[in-house]
Symmetry: C2
Subunit: 587 residues, 2 copies
């Protein structure tokens, strides 16, 4: 009774599968969770009390840890989330106790044009409606915690402006002298609201706030989200929550959420959000959906807490790192695993014939426009040339000391000769290669993929970081640029250089992780350059710090923290069946 993905929309497939999905009580029993460790949110979604589980199972060895990353994608995406779900289902079909850990989508793309990234076809995370529409409220909690910080900042500016020192002292408030022209933090909302990108606030009289420029970012780009993704536990989150730099005072000293005395209340809004959310694949494997930080100013991956819990409960844990291996896997490797102390066993590089052709010289696909006919015909030479990009990413995984598996995410237009070329070249580069048809056939289509991953996981590996925490900032950046991106070196704008020099002298900053910002559409910092470009230098424009999240962020590309809603967005086609209560039109 499974629906055919060539004939049905993702939401129709999800809805059909949901009619016979497991309850969270079944999942609880299968996972061996105790009753009090499961916090149901309805009958098909639950939170898991991570602190109780980690305490109970602290002596149990971790399962195998698999990261799914990709070659440099086209703007159409190459099915990484679908492959993550497909691999999980394939491992399930092979009888393995497997758990997936994935990100929670933002309401912005879900209501706009991208959709909710629950996978696709016969490889999806369900139930789709809560997945797409806020789940158990973690992003809303982030929104409330973050915006409460902004309320504290803006009302403090107003009250300090309006009041005498004597009045402030009566309320036990010290004058912070915040510089309204040097405010780092913006408000957040979880939609693509370009009209709120640049705003002026505080118009009106003396009780209507303090007039200044401000703006909104999308909620998932919040530092509070970044904190949720890396926090080890509640104590760690509480400490981080007080370190967020919201602005600078008139002397240039940072003003934090702790200085505003709002960090405790911000944490209060976040306590429940720390517990990962339990869902399932279309074929019933448990799936933790937890945190969804932006990839450009944070790790862009699901939470450390979810991975820790999953590794105690599962023999195989499949997670996903946003974008291509140069972005997602590099952050998984040097940031997420370092912060968690967890050791991966294998990394999957997802490739499509389409993207390989694009890297090999075919006309670049553009979203919203018909695909060039070149993509529906055999072009082995483009595929072979494009494999240079794939091999570059295979080598990146090997530099981390773990075993690469290439997953060719099958399309019906792929030809045998094209597939053979990829197999040959990737195997020569030292990777296992599997053709996978999980989109069309679910876990049954991912058996070769699952087998390759099982083999790779059970082979010895030697996981090691690219740099140590003692490595100075500019050396770290150079290592990433040369070893991961294939650059010849690094150039800095004068502003960025000044910051780098200053940061290298600050032992507090030196301890932080390095989280690069660069386009995912090229190995270089120019999104138009495909394949493996040579003879270029990475240009660092600026260096940001997120002290709560614990990142120094060298910026080698544009950061847009508020996408825009298109003229023809998805919300036009979303509705509710008022008889059944079911939501239609999500994807």
């Amino acid at each position: 009774m499974v629906l055919d993905p060539t004939k049905h929309a993702d939401w129709e497939i999800a809805e059909e599968a949901e009619s016979r999905m497991k309850t969270v009580y079944q999942l609880r029993d299968e996972l061996g969770l105790e009753e009090k460790e499961l916090l149901p949110y309805g009958h098909y979604v639950a939170k898991v009390d991570f602190a109780k589980v980690l305490d109970r199972l602290k002596d149990r060895p971790d399962g195998k840890y698999i990261d799914v990353t990709a070659i440099t994608p086209t703007p159409l995406g190459e099915g990484k989330s679908t492959s993550t779900m497909g691999l999980t289902q394939g491992l399930g079909k092979r009888g393995k106790n497997v758990i997936a850990t994935i990100r929670q989508p933002s309401g912005g793309p879900t209501m706009n044009v991208k959709g909710s990234a629950a996978g696709g076809g016969l490889s999806q995370c369900i139930p789709l409606t809560p997945f797409s529409l806020g789940l158990t409220g973690d992003i809303n909690a982030i929104m409330n915690a973050h915006n409460l910080g902004m309320v504290a900042l803006t009302s403090r500016l107003q009250h300090e402006f309006n009041s005498t020192d004597a009045f402030l002292e009566r309320g036990n408030l010290k004058r912070l002298n915040i510089d309204p022209r040097n405010v780092e933090m913006k408000w957040i909302i979880d939609f693509c609201a370009q009209a709120l990108r640049n705003i002026i606030i505080g118009l009106g009289g003396r009780r209507d706030g303090f007039m200044m420029s401000s703006g909104f970012a999308i909620a998932v780009s919040s530092e509070v989200m970044a904190i949720l993704s890396v926090a080890k536990d509640l104590k760690d989150m509480r400490e981080r929550m007080g370190k967020i730099v919201v602005a600078y005072d008139k002397r240039g000293n940072p003003v934090t959420t702790g200085d505003l005395e709002v960090d405790g209340a911000m944490t209060a809004w976040m306590v429940e959000a720390l517990n990962p959310n339990l869902m399932q694949t279309l074929e019933g494997q448990p799936t933790f959906v937890h945190a969804g930080p932006f990839a450009n100013i944070a790790i862009g991956q699901s939470s450390i807490i979810a991975d820790r819990v999953a590794l105690k409960l599962g023999d195989y844990v499949v997670t996903e790192s946003g974008f291509a291996a140069d972005i997602g896997f590099e952050k998984f490797w040097n940031l997420k695993c370092r912060m968690s102390g967890l050791t991966p066993n294998c990394a999957v590089v997802v490739a499509t014939i389409r993207a390989l052709k694009a890297h090999g010289g075919a006309p670049l696909p553009m979203p919203g426009q018909p695909l060039d006919p070149a993509y529906s015909k055999e072009h082995v030479e483009w595929v072979e040339k494009g494999c240079e990009n794939l091999i570059h990413h295979i080598n990146t995984v090997k530099k981390a000391g773990i075993n690469p598996v290439v997953c060719i995410n099958a399309f019906h237009t792929d030809t045998d000769n094209e597939i053979k070329a990829v197999r040959r070249l990737a195997e020569d580069a030292g990777a296992r290669v599997a053709l996978s048809k999980h989109w069309q056939y679910g876990g049954e289509g991912a058996l070769e993929f699952a087998d390759a991953v099982i083999e790779a996981c059970n082979e010895p590996n030697d996981f090691k970081y690219l740099y140590e925490l003692e490595t100075p900032l500019r050396e770290r950046i150079e290592l990433i640029a040369k070893e991961v991106y294939g650059a010849d070196g690094v150039e800095y704008t004068p502003e960025a250089m000044e910051k780098a020099v200053r940061m290298e002298k600050d032992p507090e900053i030196q301890k932080l992780g390095t989280c690069m910002v660069k386009t995912h559409l090229s190995l270089t910092d120019n999104p138009m350059l495909k394949g493996v470009p040579g003879g270029w230098k990475l240009r660092i424009r600026d260096i940001l710090t997120y002290q709560g999240a614990g990142f120094v962020v060298p910026v080698a590309g544009a950061i847009s923290l508020m996408p825009g809603t298109a003229a023809n967005p998805a919300y036009r086609r979303i509705d509710v069946d008022t008889e059944t209560g079911k939501v239609e039109g999500l994807f």
Copy 2:
């Protein structure tokens, strides 16, 4: 082991009681709910699938329906929520199958100075932390639904401004010609964010929105919240969601959420929120917490759905109507009951000796300032004079044809002579009177109160509306002004008069309910006038329409839809115990 409320903060009392509270599974069994009708959110809060329950119990007669309202309060509040919880606990002590239905608090007051209105002392709703911090996410759902409407509005303005007709037609979009200077709807956020009250949005380039003035209101003032409070079911909510007027076009015609094609997606965010939230009193009586609309532009009361479900499940249902009887009870009577078709059996008028003294001539209490010593000494003459206000509200309840009960919410400074005076005067006016000590003693202190309510409920009554839906708008306003407020008549500004005349000719508008805006601090439209002022006319400044919620709103007072955060707000004292995960400092 119950804590003494004279020595412990509300949150400490709540925390102690929570250590032995019932699970939602126990509450489910006590209520006779079926397994699938309960949607747990953790083990101590649940949603109840109202559609399933109402369908299963459609033939069961309703329980007794009790509204708790009050005399005209001082700005300190007179303990209406505490009395609602106390009465519920008292009826529980008398062995009755009783359910309370109350509003969900807004994050704004909870983080600012007012607190979360869960009751107080030994009469509270628990667990306090989820109650205070967003519960199951209904307000967040409202925020997302509402703000998605604003995204649709603002991005449409931008795309129409930037694009040719041909481009719009390709996306199947018709030009709406929205007038950016005639936009009704604002964004919402659930905090007191005065800095966002008046803002300019859309600064930047042509892809950064359309530049215009805008602003944020507090989330609970949203028309989407008003809809949640009055919707009968999902179908009704879906229809209302498309009727919200967001702006006017350049010819002055209304532009709705339906015109923006965003009403289906807005409803999708709200499906779960329609199910009422199940909590409990400190003594374990089931309590539905659902919706929390502003009292000044909506009914200011918990939802119709929650009351409908509670009346099927309970023999006694205690609900609360915001502010004094002239505001809260009048809306309960002529709006909420008319929309629900439910018939109340009794209304409680809560009075304190403090407020009666204020009405009788004592110096007016001011928040944040020490209470005048007059309030801690016996002043029977002030109490007697102040009873004029109480009697006025008793008469209002009698005009609705139901039985009034006066609850004297006891303070330790009250004297026997003062209490006796109230008893005598209120009984002479035809009310039952009970002294109640539920704040200090919980249900045990509310037995006299419970007995009076049981008697009143079991006496015949003759519920009738003040006006019929056929009554023209100005006649309705005059009836409310004269019969409920005690005015001599009504005056209109020219603008309001023009609107009234126009609306009376529109049969669609004529069908809507009439929802007055007036201060709750006086029977008149001047908050400084206490007691029962005579010789005044109600002045109508404007008349608004909320077509989604179904209200015409005559405005006889200032409407502030975005409160301000004070210099010394509650969030400074809220924190989390990182060992236990418990939130401290809520009240």
